[in-house]
């Protein structure tokens, strides 16, 4: 295990700035050269309700939070009550003097309490809302983390609010930081020292996906806000003007998806993003994309359903939806990135696949993925590595050369070369959601109808070549093989490490590319596996059904979770033992 592995928990009410504090702290730690993983827990409301943000830092890459925390930054009374049980032995509570830390609660626990006049410091230099800054800075001091990184984050993040605010926060941070050395030196068992490291981003999957799309040539986004997908729409909107995109917050999801069809058909790379209920509304539009062979990318960020469910919580309950949504049969590709760097690549892959196979690509994510922050080497987001492949397109010259253009020409691979509408007098054709002939015009002919379905489905053979085998981790020989997909990667990865550390050889087969399913690769990889443990965040083991349906492989055990909360390594370890 690593020498540094410290978890911080920042707790407070909705509206108290838990989110920005957590993100800022994670950013400072990342700048300080540590590996960071952070994940928030929110209520679906704007104010009140207990929110918290856990930040784990380590000198090795970290992929999940642990159940136990080392340092609790309590912005309010509730945070103390909610999280005191989560503290490890010698755990530290950091709070303003005004926060109530009931004696009875602390008594008999190996817990250390650091209460300081943080609100006063905040008010002295600025206002009480800067108490968060004070709390973070004091904490940094307690663990011996270099103040400079806190200051640099303040300078950057508050810049938009004006120099005064920056100055005030800096002053608050300095004073609070100083307290650590003066009044509370050596109170923390753990030290988190800044160190040299390659430059890293601190980023979540939503933003990484957005950035991937942007670099991958996405020109058009239409969407409708919906947690946990909104930040993709917002990221794209914020970058639209500077990066040559059109981003439309539409009147509803029906409009959003159909705008994408229109834009995709016109020939620009188009993407929409939503969550389950909004996706339901998009399914008819996607079937139109399927029928007209229009490239469209949909980012589906899952949260617990049905209906509104738990709007700000997480789930992996929409795999079946992604696989089977819409009436009729049409080819689609489903990808479920598990990390920001994979999401970044998936953005580009999705846009490429959508254009190469003129099809719908669904990128499955979830609330956990959408909000968790990972520190990732900047090299993983290398713009130079971005490849753009638009598939078979006919330019003016090509159009001049042919006699008549048939948009839906039968081809061996099912892909008919695309000429963009308006690009040339030859490119005059009809695209229709009705069954059609090679020239695009409506037909009810039975032979053509069947041949057109075959043609469209044939594109999956090509798409199949784009599919990555599942990722494998851990020793090749193992007693336990974990199966996971999408966001459960992190906790499962941690659990696997713990199994191995605890003497139970375990490995892990993780699926990012889900459809077309990598049948042969999976069979080969799982051949000889002893005990297969499926870990997924839903109530009906949807992935296990997919696996069985595609390969005939039955899992031995299912660890499911559907309480709206992400997996933790501890939860998985417990469930293994329960067997």
């Amino acid at each position: 295990m690593s020498t540094t592995d410290v978890s911080f928990c920042i707790g407070g009410e909705a509206g108290q700035g838990v989110q920005s504090s957590g993100a800022g702290f994670a950013q400072a730690m990342t700048r300080g050269g540590l590996h960071v993983f952070g994940t928030p827990s929110y209520y679906s409301r704007i104010r009140g309700g207990h929110n918290f943000f856990i930040i784990r830092v380590s000198d090795e890459p970290v992929y999940a939070v642990k159940d136990k925390i080392n340092v609790l930054l309590a912005l309010d009374d509730t945070s103390v009550l909610e999280h005191i049980d989560d503290l490890v032995t010698e755990g530290v509570i950091v709070a303003d003097e005004g926060v109530e830390v009931p004696e009875g609660l602390v008594e008999g626990r190996a817990v250390r309490v650091v209460q300081a006049p943080l609100a006063d410091i905040a008010e002295e230099h600025g206002s009480s809302v800067m108490m968060n800054t004070a709390t973070l800075a004091l904490t940094a001091g307690l663990v011996g983390f270099d103040l400079q990184h806190i200051l640099s984050v303040i300078a950057d993040n508050f810049a938009a609010l004006g120099e005064d605010i920056v100055k005030a926060n800096e002053q608050v941070a300095k004073d609070a930081y100083a307290l650590a050395g003066e009044d509370f030196s050596d109170i923390s068992t753990w030290r988190v020292e800044a160190r040299q490291a390659p430059e890293r981003l601190i980023i979540d999957v939503n933003h990484a996906f957005g950035m991937g799309c942007l670099m991958g040539g996405c020109k058009f986004v239409s969407g409708y806000p919906m947690t946990p997908a909104s930040s993709v729409l917002e990221y794209m909107a914020q970058h639209a003007d500077a990066w040559g995109m059109v981003v439309k917050h539409a009147e509803d999801e029906l409009a959003a998806v159909n705008m994408c069809v229109g834009a995709g058909h016109a020939g620009v790379r188009a993407m929409t993003c939503t969550s389950g209920g909004g996706f339901d509304l998009m399914t008819e539009g996607l079937s139109l994309a399927g029928m007209t062979e229009t490239p469209v990318v949909v980012y589906l960020a899952q949260r617990p359903g049905p209906a509104t469910g738990l709007a700000t919580r997480t789930a992996q309950g929409d795999l079946n939806l992604a696989l089977y949504a819409s009436h009729g049969e049409y080819p689609r590709v489903v990808l479920a990135p598990h990390t920001p760097e994979e999401a970044f690549r998936c953005g580009q892959r999705a846009l490429n696949i959508a254009e190469k196979y003129q099809c719908v690509v669904i990128v499955l994510s979830d609330n956990y993925n959408a909000n968790s922050l990972w520190s990732v080497d900047a090299g993983e987001f290398d713009p130079q590595q971005v490849e753009i492949d638009r598939g078979k397109m006919l330019d003016e010259e090509a159009l001049e050369a042919i006699d008549v253009y048939h948009r839906y020409a039968f081809t061996p691979d099912g892909v008919s070369p695309r000429a963009l509408p308006g690009s040339h007098p030859q490119a005059v054709y009809l695209a229709t959601g009705n069954e059609h002939r090679e020239n695009g015009h409506i037909t009810e002919d039975p032979e053509i109808s069947a041949a057109m379905l075959d043609k469209r489905m044939r594109k999956l053979d090509g798409a199949r070549t784009e599919i990555q085998a599942p990722f494998t981790y851990g020793p090749s020989e193992a007693e336990i093989t974990f199966l996971s997909w999408g966001s459960s990667y992190g906790p499962v990865h941690e659990a696997m490490k713990r199994c191995n550390a605890g003497g139970t050889p375990a490995n892990m087969v993780h699926f990012v590319d889900l459809w077309p399913f990598p049948v042969e690769e999976t069979k080969e990889i799982l051949d000889g596996a002893r005990e297969l443990i499926d870990v997924e965040g839903n109530g009906t083991a949807q992935f296990a059904s997919l696996l069985y349906g595609q390969t005939g492989i039955e899992v031995d055990k299912k660890i499911l979770k559907y309480d709206g909360r992400p997996f933790t390594p501890e939860y998985i370890m417990e469930k293994i033992k329960e067997a």
Partner: protein, 291 residues
Amino acid sequence: MVTVQDYAIDIPPTWCPGCGDFGIWNALKRAFAEADIAPHEVMMVTGIGCGSKMNDYMHVTGLHGLHGRPVPIATGFKLANQDMKVICVHGDGDGYGEGGNHFLHAARRNIGIVDLIENNHVYGLTKGQYSPTSPSGFETKTSPQGALEKPVSPLALAISQGATFVARGFSMDISRLASLIVEALGHRGYALIDVMQPCVTFMRAMSYEWYRERRYYVEDEDHDPGDRMAAMERALEFPGGDRIPMGIIYRTESEASYEGKLPTLQEKALVKQPLQTRPLEDYDELLREFI
């Protein structure tokens, strides 16, 4: 010079003999010719319904989409390729029923599309159910005792939401309809043309004669299409009253179109811009945001 013949295709329409859609078909082709727009310069987006098959019967760039969704499809298309004229052609059920929300928002958005509604006051293709514009009392298979709702008032709705071009035509008055379409194609922003279209099979009460007796052109009555409240009064004449105002009911050219306001679209259509807009070096900026 583009001619009507440029839009000819050897697929004969399957509309009932005498259907008003023939008139619209002719008017559209005439309008394109008059406006000198070639088939690859116009994108005709249609919905699902009898009249929505319009682009199957023409040599024109077309997208025959979903019931109720031509307006968002056209919006996405226009934003991606503003260099083309974009026209929606769809029925009253499509545009005011299933697609009502898009209509309302397109009107206030002032997106640069022409929205031509083939308003036959009935669902044709599904064989004669009442539509959002059917007169109260209209007896159909889904309203055996007569429709109970007041009909949608599309022109008034558009004007109330700030539409900048609101017109009505008649499928029988082909050249006047063609001129309306030409005007609409030249308009900056959203242009609604509600076209009275007889359906000889399922809406016999509203026959050619019926319309002919009731329609009048506002320009013949000294109407000022720049006066919004006057336009609203005209708009509210039908449905409801016994006279059907036609022509340009409301028009203002003083407002920018939605696409005209987008910084990204100032110089070039989106589809003509490179996929990666800026030099690769610039992309580091994006990374910086997260460091």
